[in-house]
């Protein structure tokens, strides 16, 4: 499986994720969330930022079901879903992830036909990566 190849701006996201925490970069000047992380704020040009905890609740914005040809580790689990989740606190922050039956379960285990745009999901963590499970209503 591919590991995130981080850069200086993105590293804090992965450090928090490794501790089971979902945090998003926010501008310390004007309070705007931004993603992907970057050195300065496109709204107020401030270089001051903070990593703000979010609830890990969100909704499915879109999804795909990937089939081979794929890299071997991924082909072994295909077909599997990849989702984009928009966060409750900041709907314009959209994170790529996988909808799983539980943290660390195979990517292909979640039945693709039960995925719906708009479905509520919440973050779980496995091996330093945020993943998503359906939220019980």
């Amino acid at each position: 499986m591919l590991r995130p190849v981080t850069d200086a701006d993105g590293a804090p996201f992965w450090e928090y994720a490794a501790q089971g925490e979902l945090r998003v970069q926010a501008c310390a000047g004007c309070d705007e969330f931004r993603f992907p992380p970057r050195p300065c704020c496109p709204h107020c040009q401030s270089f001051e930022s903070e990593w703000r905890p979010v609830s890990g609740r969100g909704r499915v914005w879109s999804y795909v079901v990937a089939h081979p040809p794929l890299l071997p580790d991924y082909a072994a689990q295909a077909p599997y879903n990849v989702v984009v989740v928009e966060l409750d606190e900041a709907p314009r922050i959209r994170l790529v992830g996988n909808l799983v039956t539980g943290a660390g379960q195979p990517l292909g285990a979640f039945p693709p036909e039960s995925i719906r745009i708009g479905a509520r999901v919440r973050a779980v963590f496995h091996d330093g990566l945020p993943q998503w499970v359906p939220e019980r209503s």
Partner: protein, 386 residues
């Protein structure tokens, strides 16, 4: 029109086009293919290689200017440029040459593209090289290929606007039907049916095999000179009426879902510039060559360039609108989906053929043609006229 006073409008013209055969596998390397296409384009224009003083290509091009210039016997080069973002750069090569020639920096420009994607490596198969941004946010989750990235936008598009796979099929079919008329196309003798489309294997749902472009070996080139010089060339000039490049505000590349408004891609801002500097409007366009690495890009582009309203791209394709005789015939050589995928350069050459009246799927009396580059990345576009 004197250089500088009227911008690019009709100040330059395409006077030569050339290409190699297209195939899944060609024996020659990319450099040799590039030389063949370039020399063919110069021969078509009736211009000697020693007169070339400007070059333009785009990133992911393996043949560099030094190699091409010495192999083909060019004169002193006074302008050369390489446009970023892969397939988004195709039309910008012509735009850069047009700008350089209009500004007096050069007089004979050649743009080219040589690729071996049919038999060579695909960038997304490389597991060791991952660009830190944005790949760290997508690749670990198995969003690996351009098809996956575009499929994500497509699913949302279908959901938001009620478009269907039949609309995507209409795009694939129009391209295939034109390729069936074009002996140079890889899919010349391979008709497509709705049943074949609907039962084909998935690549990344909602995109199936026929929503994806061909992997191709091949090279193409074209020659740009001033409108004044063009009058003395062998062929009827095809004027660069308007040209645009676009990297819109808060753009994120293939992963446009990080934008506030993910379904308005770079086509929208390219179109604003293109039409602003044009005497023409979308309804004046007789034929369009729209970048089609994936079928949904055509729907997004139809909206972005103003052929229909937002969210109406799917409905626009109904009733044979994209076919010959339809509202807007597209990709009349077969496009990236069915002629060849050479990062969109074949769309430029087909635009020239339409305005010369020499296409294998000629739109009668075509006098204005839109050509676009990769949608979903920083892009470019040309409005050509005869």
């Amino acid at each position: 029109m004197a250089a500088g006073s009227g911008g690019l409008k009709d100040a330059t013209a395409l006077v030569g086009i050339g290409q190699t055969p297209f195939a899944k596998r060609l024996p020659e390397d990319e450099r040799a293919l590039a030389c063949r296409a370039v020399l063919a384009a110069l021969d078509d224009a009736g211009i000697a290689p020693g007169e070339v003083d400007a070059l333009a290509s785009y990133t992911m091009e393996e043949t560099d200017e030094v190699e091409l210039a010495k192999a083909c016997g060019f004169g002193d080069l006074t302008f050369f440029s390489k446009v970023g973002f892969g397939g988004g750069g195709s039309c910008a090569t012509v735009a850069h040459l047009a700008a350089a020639i209009t500004a007096g920096q050069a007089s004979v420009g050649v743009a080219w593209r040589s690729r071996k994607r049919g038999s060579g490596p695909r960038p997304w198969t490389n597991t060791s090289v991952q660009l830190p941004t944005p790949a760290q946010w997508t690749r670990p989750y198995g969003l690996l290929r351009p098809a996956d990235e575009i499929a994500m936008l497509t699913r949302r598009y279908l959901h938001e606007y009620g478009a269907t796979r039949d609309h995507l099929f209409n795009v694939a079919l129009a391209c295939r039907n034109r390729a069936n008329q074009n002996p140079a196309a890889i899919m010349y003798d391979r008709p497509l049916t709705r049943e074949m489309y609907m039962t084909s294997r998935w690549i990344s749902e909602p995109l199936c095999l026929f929503d994806n472009c061909l992997e191709t070996d091949g090279a193409l080139a074209c020659v740009v000179v001033s409108a004044e010089r063009a009058r003395d060339c062998r062929r009827r000039p095809v004027y660069v009426h308007s040209a645009a490049q676009s990297l819109p505000a808060q753009h994120h590349g293939m992963v446009n879902y990080w934008n506030d408004d993910p379904l308005t891609g770079p086509a929208w801002s390219a179109a604003r510039h293109l039409w602003k500097h044009s005497d023409l409007a979308p309804e004046d366009v007789d034929v369009a060559q729209i970048y089609d690495a994936f079928t949904p890009l055509v729907l997004l582009s139809l909206e972005g360039y103003g052929f229909c309203g937002r969210g109406e791209g799917g409905a626009f394709t109904e009733g044979g609108a994209l076919e010959i005789g339809g509202l807007l015939p597209v990709n009349t050589g077969g496009g990236g989906l069915s002629e060849a995928y050479v990062h969109g350069f074949n769309l430029i050459n087909e635009g020239v053929r339409q305005l010369r009246g020499s296409s294998t799927a000629q739109v009668p009396g075509a006098s204005a043609c839109l050509v676009t580059a990769g949608e979903g990345v920083p892009t470019s576009a040309l409005l050509l006229r005869s």
